[in-house]
Symmetry: D4
Subunit: 149 residues, 8 copies
């Protein structure tokens, strides 16, 4: 059994690297959005031409990024969505909604202070985790049946 995992959400800390590193010995593949914030914001206009209106600047970029997001979520068995300390992160919740509607196994990674705000998202998840290490432990258990000692 190989698990395909999409790592959605917050892009300002190294949580993805921690999970990938921790799962190094497991039969998993990872996908993720482009995490270079500037490239992600500007990809639309850099490739397809400048827009004087910021709304369309963002729009073109968001659609180009959607090609990658859609592929990543569709191919995934598990979608891990990380909500960080800052920002609105509506795209993270949007990805979670898409994943839920597509029947993907959803794992949320968030701090307790957001429990109430995330209750609808958490209610659709198969696990609510607090640390990247917990995500890794779930992957290890799901693949090998082994629990942390």
């Amino acid at each position: 059994m190989t698990l395909s995992i999409y790592l959605s959400g917050e892009i300002h800390t190294d949580w993805r690297e921690q999970i990938i590193e921790g799962a190094r010995d497991l039969d998993v593949t990872f996908a993720a959005p482009v995490t270079d914030h500037a490239a992600s914001d500007d990809c639309g206009v850099v490739i397809l031409g400048e827009e004087p209106d910021k709304f369309w600047h963002d729009h073109k970029g968001a659609k180009v990024n959607a090609i990658r997001t859609r592929k990543g979520i569709e191919d995934a068995d598990i979608v891990v969505v990380r909500f960080g300390e800052k920002y609105k992160q509506w795209n993270a919740a949007f990805d979670a909604g898409m994943a839920a509607a597509m029947g993907k196994s959803l794992i949320i990674l968030q701090q307790p202070e957001h429990d109430h705000a995330l209750k609808e998202v958490d209610a659709a998840a198969l696990a609510v985790t607090r640390t990247p290490a917990e995500v890794v432990e779930i992957l290890r258990y799901v693949l090998t049946g082994t629990l942390p000692s």
Copy 2:
């Protein structure tokens, strides 16, 4: 043609009433989440029994509310998602993600200050509106072909 519309998101202003009132003469049906904040938060424990742990308190309630949300979105032709001025509103973005994945026509209602934060959600929408009146004008046009004079 009858349009079924689900009104998702912010529950602290009267935007739903404005849309329903404005569309009074149109062939539309509306559904929405329970907008009584206290009832929505406590429905799980009031019906199914108290929980000492706030996480499970929220969890039980979020799942009961999901019965209504799921029904409302599945039955809808159009899902209108309102992002207000305050709070995280991750459930609104989650609903938008579900609606997008289910192929529903998505209309977003939000102020320009959130344009950048909502760019991924807006990119999946068929209209980004600023006022309830604009939503009504879209419904009127879609059903009757009439534009505001």
Copy 3:
């Protein structure tokens, strides 16, 4: 909003009647399996001819009953599955599995002594209830936003 509800599972107590009676004033429709035990067991051979082998006797009946079960679950928004005190009730769990895979909202009705044995089924449900009255209260809340006082 009208809710279609399929009442699956145990057929030896009056739990269905209690729910239907309690929801009399709500915008709901109910469906259920044939609850006449003898008719349900014998429908195959009575209509389609005797079978000397009990396995095929049961097989013919189970398939005729499946016409009704399949229709009831497919049409439902909510599938309520009742696990009683006695018997294996594998058909109840089978219905729950079908309902879950079809994306129906699942409500389980069972006593605490079965919590451990039903944990996988409960994990797929949006509510685990203990009495028919709780099921009614959920239906009332989902449709009207009203909680029991």
Copy 4:
């Protein structure tokens, strides 16, 4: 033709090993739930934190296990469900229901004393077997056209 097979149900005898051993020379892949009973029961709380309430203890574990079950059933061409002599085994019937609704080929492995209780499940199956050897013979025939001599 390679067949992917999910082996669901009873975890207290070596029926899985018998099938895997018997099918050693066939073009098949097998998946199964975690069969270490203690790990399976406790995986939720060991990874995600203790719960004072047994219901939530079970709930967390059942959801983590569901990640593996869902993947196993979705990837399978054939789902074999074994009902043993003891226990309620509602999760086995639940898996069978999911498999049936997802259009998987279903093979049931059970003793004649359960024929009547399993008639609805059996009615959805493509084969009702009595021994692991019969399951192997079906796999061999399906893949190679060879019958036992």
Copy 5:
């Protein structure tokens, strides 16, 4: 519960009328192909213009008839397929295959002399009947729980 039923297959005897008459008091709706043999054969060329080549004559007609067949099967809860004494009746078996793949409840109506030739079709059915009266008895039982006395 209302059942929608599509009556597919043989068009030279009055089996459809017998079923419709027998089910007069039940909550059912019936659909069927055009049973006027000449009209069914010629509809394509009469409406869309003559074809010198019999193959295209038939082709145009078969496609126009497919509009009705497809609608009838898609709307149906139950597809009854009647195999008569004569002719190849490949369209009946084709309809049965479509109905099976679309998850419809399939009832076959055929004489025992065709049991062997129809074994694959029968294996996908929920009932194999010998007379229109048996079909009616199934419909009555499924809708009302009543067995013939």
Copy 6:
């Protein structure tokens, strides 16, 4: 049997009126795009605000119109697509492609001079017609089995 029909394509002649008039006595419902050319082109900017760039002017309008098109095609049993004498009419072919992928019965209405250019579209259709009267005759035959005398 009631047929729902979406009338897609050319908006400069009265072919829709001819079909609706001809089918006045049949059990059919019709839907269609907004056929007021100016309203259709400008709906986006009139409702949602002016755009200096013609591309985004068109974009906003096309998306608002898509709400109606999507609803019309999804609700349809039959999609009739009319290709007229002039213009590129790529939206007509686009609607035809969507209808085909969604399994709708497709009827094309076009003149012989376009046969070669439309061969891929025609190949996915159940009828290629030359006049609105032929479309009406198909609807009449499909619903009543009656051919033109």
Copy 7:
């Protein structure tokens, strides 16, 4: 591009071998039912136990064979269905119906004398061929763009 092809239907001539031999140099994989007539008829009872009633004898076998058929059709890009000179061959038409409903590309292989009887099946096909060589030429053209010289 690799094409997966399921070869359904008649089992008394070597048409499968001719196609497989002709397509030796192409990027294709083939699957087919068990073509050993005796094994196919008896597989159910040989593996799962004798049945005194021929109907159940056939039934058990047909279901075991359905495991292979279902897998073969689901995995296929193209389903080729051969109707031979003799027998009812309802299983061939049933397979064609399933393939059509599942959106598979359907190629029929049959002699002109059956054109009228197969018109509904042919109307759902993308090609009606007369010889195994024509099937091979289609596969070669689809994969390489090369036509027979």
Copy 8:
């Protein structure tokens, strides 16, 4: 992440070669229709026999080509549709409609003079490009996160 791309539309310039050449170092696979115009037009009659009527000549060919188109689009993550300077190109718009309905990521490649005529198609796309180089830059960005310098 490997991206599967179908290159649909105009066959008279070397835009496909430019994209394939530009993406040489990327983890992509390409599929496309047969671009030999004469072979594409005549494949039906060359393989399956002459037709005196040009309509059926085209029809047979279009259906054989549909086997390849359908496979190419179904397997694709991204469908690029090129609209050239000349011809009606309704098959390109038809492919775009199918791709949109199947949830594929759609990239349009067209000149500004066609913006108005393509507004409905563009509204369903995730990028509207002007040159093959822009398509390549999108593929590179989606796969590697790298923007053109």
